[in-house]
Amino acid sequence: MGKYTIRRLLTAIPTILVISFIIFAVVDLSPSDPTGNLPLTIPPEVRQKIREALGADDPFAVKYVKWLNQFFIAEPLNFIETTLGITFPGSEDRVRVISWATRGPVIDIIAERLPQTLWVVGSSYFLGVMIAVPVGVYSAYRQYSIFDQVGTFAMMVGFSVPTFFTGLMFIVIFSVNLKWFPSVYDTTLVVTDIESLQQQLRQMFMPVTVLTLYTTAQMSRYTRASTLDNLQQDYIRTARSKGLTERTVVMRHAVRNSLIPVVTLIALQIPGIFAGALITEQIFRVNGIGQYLIIAIQGGDLPTVQTVTFIFAVLVVFFNIVADVLYGILDPRVTYS
């Protein structure tokens, strides 16, 4: 097992390098321009000078090597320096990954935005799983019951209605008409006491609910299908014929086995939490990682797009390994040797 994990981690390194190259090539080849969104009153010659100052017109290879150097050498060294409070020689000349739009280090902005993304997307994901698993299991156990029918319908609606619609509907109902919740998310709010906690919960309510609806719908469909499969297995009949209580049959035998693929799914979707929710963040002005990526793409901000997408790629690769390893731990039929 340990050997397997190490082997997977080692083979991930070339994969990640290839991914970084492909992302860079795609982003660089796209025809967007960092000066494209500036007012037209800025003449083309000045735009040319801005691009030169940014290094946007450098050859592909130069830009790529520059980014590799900044991301894999300068950023880790800087991280070690700031966390341990020490200074390596040459620290003054080291250039971190700098965004073309803000002229600030990309990693700092990601770190600044991670809390709100994890709060909103993370808690909706957590809530989604907490609701989806029991709903899915019960729907499968009582297949075609009223609970199952209603649940299936609700989940189908949650799955098919896009978040930009539910988000807008929530704003009109809860912000405009009822005035219960704010429609503008205050990212500078810090929870220090009961009052600010209430405020935080209030502003989280709408984006979290919108996202939870979507996650729950997806997960519960999956849990239901998996549980249904297992309830029809021979070992369930065996368990029942042994005279075990219904509770033991369902909870110990059926559910535990049904959750194996669900856990994999959950692990595979964790990178999505870090990626944020592009649309929902935009609607409620949560301004997390998702919104940052959209702005960077629109603004032709290559270092930012490259860095953010690359971090996602690394997370996806990593959680794929985690899912595989978990599978081995949870399911005794799977062995890695």
Partner: protein, 569 residues
């Protein structure tokens, strides 16, 4: 197993809740909503309107424009003119006398050296300063003493109010930015994110592309101002929800750039919580007419201008055709239905300030499809093969028409396509993402500068009240071509010796009335010879909550130019 997982998730959430900066919420805060967030607070490095606006609360120019486009002394005692001796007789220099009661927010004195430094900062060849064109023709800047700045130009400068006038060129503090010249400017993150200024507020916390929080500047020159203790400049979202936050939920006090469906906006305003405000400068949405041949079959010569006129457009240079196309458009419908309060139908490329606005072209304001058809029939441009399209010398009138991706623009395209079909012209519509369309990628065939279609639509305007630079966009030397990497601002590739002569004349003329007459002459020449078809005079549309007083919507300077005067009732 399940408990383990929950524990893991809880751990992730607890970890994520650590971080963030504490903010005390005392006093009254003005909440400003910009649906495009500011990415930097150094306007010299970004050039976008949102950054200029966000910075305008903190750093200030020597002179601002008021809503009527009149110069107001801000950090100086008076505006230098020929009459008061501030501008030299030969028009080659201007001398500014700074006020002596101005302090930076850190308490140090504001001096002439800061002004000179700001000019040198922007003019540094490697800095990539985005407002460099404000310093066009500047030869040198010198501080004659602590209070006096002299700017010398390379030649006569009839309008010497480029540098340090208006929100494009606010003054930076020399002490703070001294190490940020040239290449180093890119890495001065601390300075760019929190410039020290002379304005009513100072930066407390800046989160790029998200939110800026400001606090009152204790060293502000006017006692008792600003009224607000704090200001929050929140970004993100979209225009419609920004309008809703001010007009319907009252969560924000001010929302910027609300270009949304006029019907939706007026319904929101009817809720009675806030007011929509509009101001007009010089922006005109126009159809640019390609004067070169964009036929892909030409290969390298596609859309390339030849000095001998050999590569002209097959039919768009024919007066009857472009005039008929202009005549067939109902500009009032576009302005009222799509732009609402923020649009007025226009036939001019230079619609403001009022003294520069021509009245010689107003006949285009009335749509007349019949007259357009008659005009074409008369010129012998008829549908000879019965396919519903007119032909000019055997070439069917089919035009391609591109613009950037934007709901209002696509609606305009659809309307115009319909009107042109009524005069026997077929239109193929295209829309391109703004970052590509307005971008400078030489490899992309879709940029507005390459203009590989017959017609393209966008907005442009003058960068301030004086039209000289703007009118210079149609100079022959500004024609975009592959030889110059498609740099240049004459994208129609329209050319007139008479026009160039008028421009030269303007650069030698210092008297305002004469300059205005020349500008009108140039405007008329442009629109009467089909360099473009103007459509809509566009204003800026914003909204404020009714509890905030003192807002004076301004299109010539920052919208937030007088934030120090804002109060709450």
């Amino acid at each position: 197993m399940k408990t383990k997982l929950s524990l893991l998730l809880i751990l992730v959430m607890v970890l994520s809740s650590v971080g963030g900066i504490g903010v005390a919420q005392d006093g009254d805060t003005v909440n400003i909503l910009f649906w495009q967030a500011a990415s930097s607070l150094n306007p010299y490095l970004s050039g976008g309107t949102k950054e200029l606006e966000a910075a305008s609360l903190v750093i200030e120019p020597l002179v601002r424009y008021d809503p009527d486009g009149v110069m107001v002394p801000w950090l100086v005692n008076e505006v230098p003119t020929l009459a008061n001796g501030g501008v030299s007789e030969d028009l080659t220099s201007i001398t500014w006398n700074l006020r002596d009661d101005i302090l930076w927010s850190d308490g140090s004195a504001f001096t002439a050296h800061d002004v000179v430094f700001t000019g040198e900062y922007c003019m540094h060849p490697e800095g990539g300063c985005s407002t460099l064109n404000q310093f066009d023709g500047v030869e040198s800047l010198e501080a004659l003493d602590d209070r006096t700045v002299k700017i010398t130009f390379t030649g006569p400068k009839p309008f010497p109010y480029g540098p340090f006038v208006g929100y494009f060129t606010p003054i930076l503090q020399k002490a703070q930015f001294a190490d940020c010249m040239g290449v180093a400017s890119q890495e001065c993150t601390d300075q760019n994110f929190a410039p020290i200024g002379t304005g009513p507020f100072m930066v407390e916390d800046f989160r790029p592309n998200d939110v800026v929080t400001y606090v009152r500047n204790p060293n502000y020159r006017d006692e008792g101002k600003p009224y607000f203790d704090r200001a929050v400049f929140k970004g993100g979202g979209d225009a419609e929800s920004a309008a809703r936050a001010v007009l319907e939920t009252g969560e924000a006090d001010y929302a910027w750039n609300l270009q949304i469906s006029p019907a939706v906006l007026s319904a929101m305003e009817a809720a009675g919580q806030g007011t929509v405000v509009v101001a007009f400068a010089t922006n005109v949405e126009r159809l640019m007419v390609n004067h070169t041949n964009p036929d892909p079959a030409l290969g390298e010569n596609r859309s390339v201008w030849m000095a001998d006129g050999s590569n002209g457009h097959p039919f768009l240079q024919v007066d009857a055709i472009w005039k008929a196309m202009s005549k067939a458009i109902d500009r009032n419908v576009i302005a009222e239905q799509l732009y609402g309060a923020g649009g007025i139908a226009t036939c001019n490329v230079l619609p403001g300030p009022p003294i520069y606005a021509s009245t010689n072209n107003d006949d285009c304001l009335v749509q007349d499809v019949e007259a357009a058809n008659a005009m074409l029939d008369e010129a012998g441009i008829v549908d000879s093969d019965g396919d519903g399209l007119r032909e000019y010398e055997g070439i069917p009138l089919q035009v391609s028409y591109q613009t950037s991706t934007n709901a209002v623009r696509q609606s305009t395209q659809a309307l115009i396509k319909q009107w042109w079909s009524e005069i026997g012209i077929e239109t193929e519509l295209r829309n391109i993402d703004a970052a590509v369309f307005f971008g400078g990628d030489v490899a992309s065939p879709d940029t507005y500068a390459k203009f590989y279609t017959d017609i393209e639509m966008y907005t442009n305007g003058s960068n301030g009240t004086d039209p000289e630079t703007y009118m210079g966009n149609w100079r022959t030397t500004e024609i975009t071509s592959p030889a110059t990497g498609w740099l240049g601002s004459n994208v129609s590739r329209w050319y007139s010796e008479e026009y160039d002569a008028l421009l030269d004349q303007m650069s030698q003329t210092g008297v305002l009335e004469e300059r205005a007459a020349l500008a009108i002459q140039m405007n008329d020449l442009l629109v009467q010879s089909g360099a473009m078809i103007p459509l809509v005079y566009r204003g800026s549309v914003s909204a404020h909550h009714n509890s905030v007083n003192g807002i004076a919507m301004n299109a010539w300077d920052a919208e937030l130019w007088n934030v120090a005067e804002w109060t709450r009732s």
